[in-house]
């Protein structure tokens, strides 16, 4: 986390700089099936973040050394577009995107019924078009909707959400300033129906009580986003289009 102390992140009236309450998340909207070339796809707009996910497969897993005899492997690529941030990002993989891709893949492998597709591969491509803190979570949410859109069986959807700490106060869903100058960030991937957690990262400083409150906020937000995800999938298939 960035330097704390020099930037005011909570207003005198107790609200946050953008006017949100402590446990209020940024607006989320989701659209399923937006990419015609993909087997499944979704776009998630979470605050100012825009994440697009495409799913291809299940397909033959190659090279063969990545094959698993008893299940499918999920191959995730999280990538930020060069124009997605304030300063241009040089195209290509970096350490950050490799790590996020790895843990996201493992989270998705925890919810997809991978044992149904031995020796195969499911490709999940996450592209961040606009980044304002919280892109890995928006990416996970987009990936889950895209997997469902592709008709791939899952135990549950998975929702990416984060809480954190600014000015010694736990808040839900950090925005850019809060992420840069706050004290902690706790992004998780929640299975809303089973109440399990499949993705977990954290950095900063949280007391056990603060952790519990942050997690409580995360579960509350996950339930809200879950409704939006289900609604997007229903719209995709009830509308009669495609």
């Amino acid at each position: 986390m960035g330097g704390y102390g020099d930037v005011q992140l909570l207003r005198d009236d107790g609200l946050r700089l953008d006017g949100r309450k402590l446990d209020e998340m940024r607006p989320v909207s989701i659209e399923a099936g937006i990419l015609p070339a993909a087997d499944g796809s979704a776009m998630v707009t979470h605050g100012l973040n825009v994440a697009v996910a495409a799913v291809y497969g299940p397909m033959e897993a190659h090279p063969r050394k990545i094959q698993r005899q008893d299940r499918a492997v999920i191959d995730v690529r999280y990538n930020m577009a060069p124009f997605s941030t304030g300063d241009r990002i040089r195209p290509g993989y970096n350490r950050r995107s490799r790590e996020i891709s790895k843990v996201t893949a493992e989270a998705l492998e925890s919810v997809v019924l991978v044992e149904r597709y031995p020796r195969s591969k499911i490709r999940v491509e996450i592209e961040i078009l606009a980044a304002e803190a919280g892109t890995r979570c928006a990416g996970i949410t987009a990936a889950a909707v895209a997997l469902a859109d592709a008709g791939i069986p899952m135990r549950d959807l998975i929702v990416g959400v984060a809480s954190g700490k600014v000015e010694d106060t736990v808040v839900l869903d950090l925005d850019k300033a809060e992420d840069n100058y706050g004290q902690a960030d706790l992004p998780v991937g929640i299975l809303p129906n089973t109440g399990e957690i499949a993705f977990l990262q954290m950095d900063g400083d949280l007391s056990p009580d603060e952790y519990n409150l942050a997690m409580e906020y995360n579960f509350k937000a996950a339930a809200e986003i879950h409704e939006i995800m289900v609604d997007a999938l229903k719209r995709r298939y009830e509308g009669g289009e495609n």
Partner: protein, 261 residues
């Protein structure tokens, strides 16, 4: 999509061409509907989204301060690159930029650069010390055929809406980038023995060589490219050049309308 499919597809495309028809019912020189949205990406200084049939492309413009090249101390620079990432189609593999994506970026780059729509001198802040580097990044999200035209259109539309972020770099006030002209690319693929405009994914799969023509506002040629295996005659070129000329005018109007001028 191994070789068997294109063989059958080629036969079908040849049969249709014989009857002056196309798979999706379009005429030989008829393009798909184009939808253009500008200023649609939050962190880009200029941006555009183009949808043509099943093809979806985004372009974003970013600026950076740099030292000018020693032999051109009063000129800024322009760079345009395209990424054909695996998100866009089953056929694209992860890895370093493929020859296809490099060709795509460079053809779009040439059309914009050579049209002279950006005056490189206007990108100079302090001669010999500080100039703007303008970077257009094109992101193909869905390849449904003819990504060249979609990328060319997205790139120039994004550029034409770009705001130079001078305040953020502490070199004065933000201002609109001056762009003199709207170069437009038109692409043709030989399908069933004849050229067609704006090939779909199936037409590319079962077609032969392609030709890309970028024309400026005055109708001058600014970039040409022939790709893939095949040959063409001067008479064939004359015919598609005429079509390119007409289609350019429509697309230029579309860009102007989106900008609101």
């Amino acid at each position: 999509m191994v070789e068997l499919v294109p063989t059958l597809l080629r036969q079908e495309l040849a049969r249709l061409a014989e009857a002056d028809q196309r798979l999706d019912g379009r005429g030989q020189w008829e393009g798909r509907d184009v939808s253009l949205e500008v200023d649609c990406l939050y962190n880009a200084e200029g941006s555009a989204k183009v949808v043509m049939g099943k093809t979806i492309v985004y372009a974003g413009v970013k600026f950076e301060l740099r030292t000018p090249w020693p032999d051109r101390p009063t000129q800024g620079s322009l760079m345009c690159g395209a990424e054909l990432r695996p998100v866009a189609h089953r056929k694209y593999e992860p890895g370093p930029p493929s020859p296809e994506s490099i060709e795509l970026g460079r053809v779009v780059d040439r059309g914009i650069r050579e049209s002279g729509c950006i005056d490189m001198e206007s990108l100079c802040i302090v001669p010999g010390e500080k100039v703007w580097g303008v970077m257009i990044d094109i992101h193909v999200l869905s390849d449904g055929g003819n990504i060249f035209d979609a990328c060319g259109l997205a790139a120039i539309a994004a550029l034409r809406t770009a705001i130079v972020p001078a305040e953020r770099f502490d070199v004065g006030e933000d201002y609109k980038l001056k762009v003199n002209g709207t170069p437009i690319m038109s692409s043709f693929t030989r399908v069933g023995g004849r050229y067609i405009y704006d090939p779909s994914e199936e037409e590319e799969l079962g077609g032969d060589e392609r030709i890309h023509i970028t024309l400026g506002d005055e109708g001058h040629l600014h970039s040409l490219q022939k790709g893939l295996r095949g040959v063409f005659t001067p008479a064939e070129f004359a015919e598609i050049f005429e079509v390119a000329h007409q289609r350019c005018a429509d697309l230029r109007t579309l860009v102007a309308n989106q900008e609101g001028n």
